[in-house]
Amino acid sequence: MEAVIYEERTEQIHRKGDKPFALSCDKESLAGAVSQRACVFCGSRVVLYPIADALHLVHGPIGCAVYTWDIRGALSSGPELHRLSFSTDIQERDVIFGGEQKLYQALIELIDRHQPKAAFVYSTCIVGIIGDDLEAVCKKVSAEKGIPVLPVQSEGFKGNKRAGYAAACEAMNKLVGMGDTKGISKHSINILGDFNLAGEIWLVREYFEKIGVQVVANITGDGRVGDIQRAHGAALNLVQCSGATMDLANMMKKRFGTPNLRVSYFGVEDMAEALYAVADFFKDEEIMARTRQLVADEVKGLQAELNEYRRELTGKKAAIYVGGAFKAFSLIKAFRLLGMDVVMVGSQTGTNEDYEELAEICDPGTIIVDDSNPLELSSFLKEKDVDIFVGGVKERPIAYKLGVAFCDHNHERKEILAGFAGMRNFAREVHASVMSPVWRFVPRKSPGNSASAVSSA
């Protein structure tokens, strides 16, 4: 089993209880190790992507655009411009002679065609190398077309996803402050770090509206350029998925003094906590009373239903591997609510603080891992005899090949997993996968007969 661990990576894996906590993270991925990480461009693209009335133009060869075409829900209640994949499709001659002219023409063409409220122009590896002046082209087009045209400095090789989050926040920061803040209530918030993959932000907004808090801007799920431009009018920034949008919250704090709170909408406990934190912040009796009422209403009935699932799921083992570590905290709590044990938890881009906190709340023996890869993950799943693995598309075949249940908590999910209703969906999905009869037929669980004795080809 140890043979699967790269020597250079031993410091990035910790087993709670083995020795005092120490985990190395925030490093460049090890060459040759099949990291599950993506690139800077990916980070920027996922954060900005849900802004539905903006044009998102990828300046680069076709791959960068086509692999990110409509890859996640990012549902919109109105325009759907974000679901189209725009590219300058850089060719060899552009690499030799420069791509600025092509970028300029493409921008003009697309802005004329789609009349967006703003345009984001993503830089890719190749653009960083050939040295196109994105800033200058964007400025020129912005002046000609009268809309914000924002360069996103997301050259893929410049780091990992988190550098891309920062570049996305830089770009959005240029929008904030441009709009009129008239008519914004003193009890108002921006929702940062929810991407409305399956409609979560609609649910969360509804909760806030019910307790009497106005939501100014969704950043960025079901996002609109105009809302982001007036986001500085909100009294508070609520930041989920802190890795992705905390930078923007910090910038807004500096520029406008907007305070922020870190929250999570996932799981009963965290959702309720988020609502109470907001009510507390506004120190308004009515808001607090409505919050209590809302939580009471929502939880009523839910516990009974969860108990049903809990009966069958108690003692089952879960493994978690996510992009940013923050989501892992909520997942651990949610699994505990279902009576399940988390035996492995890891992330692509967690920070030191994230991992320290994780180590604190995990049970002894839990494996904590940074920037893992299929070899390690598959060996952990086997070692811990895991019943369900939670991750994204790239983790799915690892679980399935081994005959382990799986829950997509990332781009491809289609059910809301946030809020009180989301907890019900989560429990249902975990239950549906873990309790499926198919596992009794997979080699892992069945001694089998001669027909099942496939080693492989």
Binding site: G32, L57, V66, T68, W69, S87, C125, G156, F157, S379
Partner: protein, 454 residues
Amino acid sequence: MTTMTYKKKYVSTTNACKLCRPLGAMIAFRGIEGAVPFLHGSQGCATYMRRYIISHFNEPIDIASSSLGEKNAIYGGGANIKQGLSNVINKFQPSLVGIATTCLTETIGDDVHMLLHQFCAEAKGQTLPEMVHVSTPSYDGTHIEGFHGAVRAAVDSLATAGHPSETVNLLPGFISPADIRYLQEIMADFALPTVILPDISDTLDGPALRKYEMIPGGGTTINEIKSMGTAQATIEFGRTVNEKLSSGLLLNDRFDIPCTRLGLPMGLRETDLFFAELETISGKTTPEKYSRERGRYVDSFVDGHKYVFGKRAIVYGEEDFVVGLTALLVEFGIKPVLCASGGKSGKLTAAIAAVSDDILKEQPLVREGMDFFEIAEEAESLAPDLLIGHSKGYPLAKKLNIPLLRVGFPVHDRLGGQRILHLGYRGAQMLFDQIVNSVIEQKQDSSSVGYSYM
């Protein structure tokens, strides 16, 4: 006959109908036994391609990366490619590493041949796997050029001369695992020892396992690839494959092995050509199993012809797939009105004409270098009845409210893309039934009568 030479209308690309070059190379390398596909570039490329490939095959695909960072982009990726290779070799113990470049490493000017040479020299005394390198700048060509380029690179560096054998080289192009299994069956039934390169039939459609395999079992073995230089004949599919990327022509040049280049055996007549070739090579007549498959297929034409005659289809995707589908469709009376691809072989118009112009009164619009925005624009005036191609045409099908028959790659919104059979009489039969039924279903669903018979 009207042939359209198409000049791109727009500077920008919207919803591309192609993928980037390195992706094709990764899939081709995955079809070699014991191989680890390796991308020399930044980490994101490998991850994105893995994700894209996984969503179609529902199988693990590990693609190693040299994970270049900012410093490497400035000073060169030499150290990273070497570290990456040595990690891959130590951990995976591959028999081959298939290395493809990316736009980044092509542009910063890394000399991969030299770096590999250095790596081997520095590893003196160590047993190293085969290393096959293909240049795949993402800004030139599509995944199909990457695919053929990788196959050719493998043949180029491994195939050797030797005692002439009875083996047949079969270069199928990018087809499904189900297609490859069917080809294997056909070759076995003709009693022809065959090397199929690449062979993704197990590596990208494997059984459930007790243990995660570092490298999935299956694939063309290295010895088989070596033996390709001694074969009695080569059959290469793909009417639009560039000569410079043709492994069949390479084998012909270097080892004097006769090469027959055919279209993908899709539909009746393209499949007939393939079987005729097998009869010639083997000196045997087609086994009855296949002539009966063919007979049933023709019989079904008669049963279904009325439902599809004159139906207007837009066919899109990889060029050779578009040619094969067009060949298949015209034989039972469907009228392709647009044959579109993101590829730019320069051969599509001629290839479409070759497989259809004796049946069609009028050639369809044939366009290379197209994206889905342009396809949608053309569709407005073409009034198609159905779309045939991969999943990415779904938004258009939905907008037009017409059926989409999912074939080829990628199929991201349905299960079992890897098990779609496209080739031969058997594959044609399955496609035919689906096409006819989708037309019937469309009519049934839009009728208020609720017919319960055809």
